[in-house]
């Protein structure tokens, strides 16, 4: 490894410290790519002598634990897994240590990071969190069912087409739902999807004077479309379905279409999927207003300022997010399972393009998202599927509860009527 002077210093320090068996505490989410990282990390320990203490938690618990810790300066963690929402807010508050070592390291090559992702994790041009994997959202659909319905999915569908296709693909007798969408309450669950969707309908959270805009026709339109789509073509129990639940449904062949995170692509085409060879991809839908309903997110690794082991922590982040790591995963698990959405070089890699049929659509989706101009009308905030203010998580949690309840009610009412009319036996 070629190291810049700063890192050389850090590295020597780390080496000196590793004699006394330095230990890093790493908090991360129990997503597939992170579990893989945990599995591969023995190589890091062998290489550097730095022991790793993993805290792998379910997303909401993790978020609660790291937020409590960093806000109270608790110092329990050396590396935290955070998202595009937290990174700039926390960085501005001085809670995160800037990753200057990485930024200066030519081998690490920060310029290789996808610009949209990198911008989201930087404040005043300084990188505060290194992207582990990045995602946008897109349409995943079943080619066989689409054909059966006599339709062809365009590369860039409209909401109108999605609605038509979803209703045409729905086959309740065979347990096939035309479309699966998030309904589970939470700012990172249904609100991520609905906020992104509302952008393509021209809606916004706040106008320039920070007045909430939920009573506008654009939001009404978004919700009407969403609720009627889910009532006509969605799975039962949709209001408790988040990413994982929908993934399971899709893998089981119970969804005609699914609009969700681009990272799902490697799962729905992977070994656990019963429909792996029938999956096609398309951009998130639009309404001809110039914006698509896709979001932008990156699970990233950051160092809290309260950490006592910043040098070693940066060394670990380097290991987990550099180009070599991608190659390591590719060697162990195949190119399709490499953490996506962080580096330009990955998308220029011919082997990756060959192994990952979803590569182009993922990259296009990420590039199509613009956090500083998320929707059609001007907004005072940054963020595609969130509003980058500290209070957003709380507000959107409440709103998410209400939307989720609306979905449950719509579903309930429809089921009652359909049963009465004899469609459901």
């Amino acid at each position: 490894m070629k190291l810049t002077p700063i890192l050389v210093g850090a590295f020597t320090l780390a080496l000196a410290a590793s004699a006394s068996a330095q230990t890093l505490t790493i908090a991360t989410v129990n997503n597939g790519d992170m579990i893989r990282m945990q599995g591969l990390s023995t190589a890091f320990t062998e290489e550097t002598g730095i022991e790793l203490n993993w805290v792998v938690l379910e997303e909401n618990t993790l978020r609660q634990n790291v937020t409590t810790d960093i806000a109270t300066n608790g110092g329990q963690y050396d590396v935290m897994t955070i998202g595009t929402y937290e990174a700039p807010i926390w960085a501005k508050q001085g809670w995160l240590a800037p990753l200057d070592g990485l930024s200066a390291d030519a081998e690490y090559d920060v310029d290789d990071l996808l610009p949209a992702i990198r911008d989201g994790l930087s404040v005043d041009g300084k990188l505060y969190a290194a992207p582990f994997y990045g995602e946008s959202s897109m349409v995943m659909y079943r080619k066989d069912l689409m054909e059966k319905a006599g339709l062809t999915m365009p590369d860039a569908p409209t909401w109108e087409f999605i609605g038509e296709a979803a209703r045409a693909m729905t086959d309740r007798d065979n347990d096939i739902n035309g479309i699966c969408l998030r309904g589970k309450a939470g700012w990172g669950e249904n609100m991520a999807f609905l906020t992104a969707m509302s952008n393509s309908f021209g809606a916004r959270w706040f106008d320039e004077t920070w007045t909430p805009q939920f009573n506008t026709p654009e939001w009404k339109n978004t919700l009407d479309t969403y609720l009627s789509l889910m009532a006509d073509a969605g799975p039962s129990g949709a209001s408790s379905n988040g990413f994982n639940e929908n993934l399971t449904l899709f893998q089981q062949g119970k969804c005609g279409m699914w609009i969700d995170a681009t990272v799902a692509a490697s799962f729905v085409t992977g070994a656990d999927s019963t429909v792996a060879d029938q999956v096609g991809f398309a951009l998130a839908p639009d309404n001809g207003l110039g914006k698509r309903g896709n979001w932008l997110w990156a699970w990233s690794l950051a160092i809290p300022n309260s950490s006592q082991n910043k040098e070693a922590a940066e060394q670990f982040i380097d290991w987990a997010t550099n180009k070599e790591y991608l190659a390591t995963v590719a060697a162990a698990e195949g190119w399709a399972n490499v953490p996506p959405g962080t580096r330009t070089s990955l998308y220029e890699n011919a082997e990756y393009q060959a192994a990952a049929p979803f590569a182009k659509m993922t990259l296009d989706s990420i590039n199509a998202a613009n956090p500083s101009e998320p929707t059609v009308q001007p907004v005072p905030y940054v963020g595609v599927q969130f509003v980058a203010i500290p209070e957003f998580a709380g507000i959107a949690t409440n709103v998410g509860q209400l939307f989720s309840a609306a979905l449950a009610q719509a579903q309930d009412a429809t089921t009652r009527d359909m049963t009465r009319a004899g469609y459901i036996k």
Binding site: N53, L57, N65, T68, Y77, N244
Partner: protein, 276 residues
């Protein structure tokens, strides 16, 4: 129990009792069976009862990701440690309240119980700040302290109701005999109190073992208990039912076995001396 009933009635009662008991047990049975299925089978459209492809891969997958032994050790240390500490503080207090009651004894007891009603989520930040300053975050002894205080009211209350059942005249007879206080405790009280103490101990080990809020919030890996262990399997991406079941089985097995073996002692204490 030598009541005379016809064999027919006995069969009827037996059948009903077993049916209800198995119904209550079915969720645990489900975990037990699912833990040995493959992920695909666990979620199959046509469900299976017994695992068709018996597999241990879920257990190895769980162990690969999370150190079961470390978490189980922490659970044992915290639950047993906090219970012993609680008994050390609680026994004298309950003894005093039972044998030298004053007008205020009842109020003190009720006050102690009411401290148990503080919602944990409401005091998270104060406790977190205190733990940070005392360097107790992510330590087994820190967690042990928390478990001790949250279960102490129950410990004292259980011991109190149990001690109260010990007839006072025995004590006074012992005193009239001129026995020393020490002898009084060792030879008269302890043998009578041991069953109550044993069941208090068991119940509190169970309560501390199952505590999920503080043990997840105040730890980060080193001192994590089995409830934290479970939290990392709760809803990951992809299929997870079988792995979750394997992890759940590992998490509840020790306490389940302990409970089964010590069931008699436990029951005796759960009655709070209601039974003479």
């Amino acid at each position: 129990m030598a009541r005379n009933v016809s064999t027919g009635t006995k069969i009827g009662f037996t059948f009903a009792a077993w049916a209800i008991a198995l119904l209550l047990f079915s969720p645990i049975l489900w975990v037990l069976l699912t833990a040995f299925k493959t992920e695909a089978e666990a979620i199959a459209n046509s469900p299976t009862f017994l695992p068709q492809n018996f597999t241990l891969e879920n257990f190895s997958a769980v162990q690969d990701r999370s150190d079961y032994v470390k978490h189980a050790t922490n659970s044992i240390l915290v639950s047993v440690g906090s219970t012993l500490l609680g008994l050390a503080i609680g026994i004298p207090a309950a003894w005093a309240m039972a044998f030298a009651p004053t007008k205020r004894t009842k109020d003190v007891l009720m006050w102690m119980l009411s401290t148990k009603m503080m919602p944990a989520v409401g005091v998270l930040i104060p406790i977190y700040l205190i733990f940070r300053d005392l360097r107790l975050l992510d330590t087994v002894h820190g967690l042990t302290l928390i478990m001790t205080v949250i279960n102490l009211p129950i410990i004292i209350w259980m011991l109190y109701t149990y001690f109260k059942e010990i007839p006072v005249d025995i004590l006074e007879a012992a005193r009239m005999d001129g026995a020393e206080l020490y002898n009084e405790i060792v030879h008269v009280l302890v043998p009578m109190a041991v069953p109550g103490i044993a069941s208090t101990l068991l119940l509190n080990v169970i309560l501390a073992w199952n505590e999920a809020f503080w043990s997840i919030t105040l730890t980060s890996g080193r001192a994590g208990t089995l409830t934290a262990f479970i939290s990392s399997f709760s809803s990951p991406q992809g299929l997870f039912l079988a792995k979750l079941s394997a992890a759940s089985l590992l998490a509840i097995a020790p306490i389940l076995l302990m409970g089964w073996f010590s069931q008699k002692q436990l029951v005796r204490g759960l009655t709070f001396g209601a039974v003479k």
